[in-house]
């Protein structure tokens, strides 16, 4: 009776995962979808605690420990998630993903000695080994991704023949994994070697990838963790884990590919592409850019925008870092009051994650219909008087269209150079995240407004008020 009830709960949970994920694909239903998933998860967890039959009497201490662990995890997870700033969201997703991976790896680690002792079948052993490898890779990879986005780890490290080393290492990892399945008896301690190797591979896999590509990597690692969860599901013949895991595995893979498509780069290029190296040679050719940089003062910018008919704002990561989303809304209000049409041009990969800018600007109550996606806004630049680029760089770099040697060549960009005037707000002349020069800054129509986004925009707002 108890175990049948549990099976029904798992069935319900699986259905909530599917419906929840489906609803999350639409802006209107997304929030409820997330809640439905959470309810299903709670059911599955509570059901497992009270109805799972482990084959022996479970002591009260165990229950206390389980609830203790859940309480600790809930408090830490909840507090971190509630307190984090909107700009730090991508890192946090990566971190939580890593936790899931570590959880899957630990399950493998605990089950292995037991399985080796009882001579578990090939299938079960395969699940344990795969779960351990994938979970560990996902864990250490996510931690590296977290550190990269966080800025702790800045440079993409790429040795010569890096791909070769990585691939050989991956083969060795799988060969060692296969050894556990084939060999008659393996010393129990060897599982720790496998664990270390997997952790190391996660680091090797993620570390050469540039920070700008981290969202794609996180999405990929996300689907890895899904697979790791699924292997656990096969091990315990647990339907909720199976469906949840595979669902995230396949959905995550597709999402990864969709993100790559938004950047117009194949996935293999993200993972194996020597982005860092070509960027260096790219900046070498940067000296060939002709023209000079032109400064613009706050008051000139204000006048220019005040008498414009139409202003398009291009937000980038700089806006997020400076927390300038509220000031920019104020600027929008002021300009609109004076009859200026204001729109925001959202590049699919502006910021550090797709949708990052939408989330950020929605926080400061910018109307949804003012955020225009790239394909829709590009034809409008020609009829625009002033484009204000705030902390964006690579997404407005014409080299993506004109320079085949550029590492971002082929990425669709916002055609801001078609506008009458372009004002670029940047902290300095440093290159953007991709580490390459931007000839837009040397365009005769472009004026540079140097300074922190929040600071510069606040001054701009003050100036506009006096006009």
């Amino acid at each position: 009776m108890k175990s049948s009830l549990l099976e029904i709960i798992y069935l319900l949970a699986s259905v909530t995962f599917i419906i929840g994920l489906k609803m999350m694909g639409n802006a209107k239903t997304a929030r409820n979808g997330n809640l439905i998933g959470a309810v299903g998860m709670t059911l599955a967890i509570l059901g497992t605690i009270f109805l799972y039959d482990g084959g022996h009497q479970v002591s009260t201490t165990t229950f206390v420990l389980i609830f203790g662990a859940i309480a600790i995890g809930t408090v830490i997870g909840w507090l971190t998630a509630v307190k984090v700033q909107m700009t730090k969201m991508p890192e946090l997703v990566s971190l939580f993903n890593g936790m899931g991976g570590a959880c899957a790896a630990l399950i493998g680690l605990i089950e292995y000695p037991h399985a080796a002792e009882t001579g578990m079948g090939m299938g079960g052993m395969l699940c344990i080994i795969l779960g351990l490898i994938i979970g560990s890779v996902s864990f250490s990879g996510s931690i590296i991704a977290f550190m990269k986005l966080n800025g702790t780890l800045k440079k993409a490290i790429r040795l010569t023949a890096y791909n070769m080393i990585n691939n050989v290492f991956l083969l060795a990892l799988f060969a060692f994994g296969a050894y556990f399945l084939m060999a008659a008896s393996v010393p129990v301690a060897a599982i720790y070697v496998l664990l270390l190797m997997s952790l190391l591979y996660g680091v090797l896999f993620t570390i050469p990838i540039g920070g700008a590509d981290m969202p794609v990597v996180i999405s990929l690692l996300n689907s890895f963790t899904g697979l790791a969860a699924a292997t656990g599901g096969f091990l315990y013949d647990n339907q909720a884990m199976q469906t949840g895991g595979i669902l995230v595995g396949s959905a995550g893979t597709l999402l990864t590919l969709a993100m790559c498509k938004a950047m117009n780069r194949p996935l293999s290029n993200v993972i194996f592409g020597a982005f860092g190296e070509s960027a260096k040679s790219g900046s070498g050719s940067g000296s060939s850019i002709e023209g000079s940089i032109k400064d613009i003062s706050i008051s000139d910018s204000a006048i220019l925008m005040n008498y414009a008919k139409k202003v398009i704002i291009v937000p980038g990561y700089g806006l997020a870092v400076a927390q300038a989303q509220h000031v920019i809304k104020e600027l929008e209000n002021l300009l609109e009051e004076r009859g200026v049409t204001v729109k925001y041009a959202i590049h699919p990969v502006a910021g550090r994650m797709p949708g990052h800018m939408n989330v950020l600007l929605a926080e400061s109550n910018v109307a949804y219909d003012k955020l225009v996606e790239m394909e829709d806004i590009n034809p409008e630049f020609a009829q625009t008087d002033v484009v204000l680029v705030v902390g964006a760089n690579d997404v407005v770099n014409p080299a993506a269209k004109t320079d085949p040697s550029s590492p971002i060549f082929g990425m669709p960009i916002l055609d801001v150079e078609n506008a009458q005037h372009i004002i670029v707000n940047k902290r300095s002349m440093n290159a953007g995240y991709a580490g390459i020069e931007n000839e837009l800054f040397y365009n005769p129509k472009t004026s540079m407004l140097f300074g922190d986004a929040k600071d510069a925009l606040s001054k701009l707002v003050t100036e506009l008020k006096t006009l």
Partner: protein, 100 residues
């Protein structure tokens, strides 16, 4: 050869689940606007937190103290994934809702 065929036949239900889940996953994500990619990734992230169920099973089953310690750790990590994942996603989506 015969072994492989029997193995497939024996595990056919499992194979059904795998194949159908893959299709459902692909179907569910298809045609999602770019804007929702981040929250969706975060939501999917929370859902694979279902791995916590495995960690709980470990704690219910294990008889060794090492298993208990590692299981305890695994449940904490799994809970972080689940709770953090859902709360972060909710916060992101809350932003979307305010607009209208």
């Amino acid at each position: 050869m015969e072994q492989i065929i029997t193995a497939i036949a024996e595990h056919r239900q499992l194979l059904y689940i795998i194949i159908l889940s893959i299709f459902v996953g692909v179907e569910v994500i298809g045609n999602v606007p770019t804007v929702l990619h981040t929250p969706l990734m975060s939501g999917a992230n929370a859902i694979h937190g279902v791995v916590i169920v495995g960690a709980i099973i470990v704690m219910l089953k294990t008889e060794s103290s090492l298993g208990m310690v590692l299981g305890f750790l695994a449940v904490i990590l799994g809970t972080l994934n689940v709770v953090g994942g859902f709360v972060v996603t909710d916060r992101m989506l809350e932003m979307f809702k305010k607009k209208k």
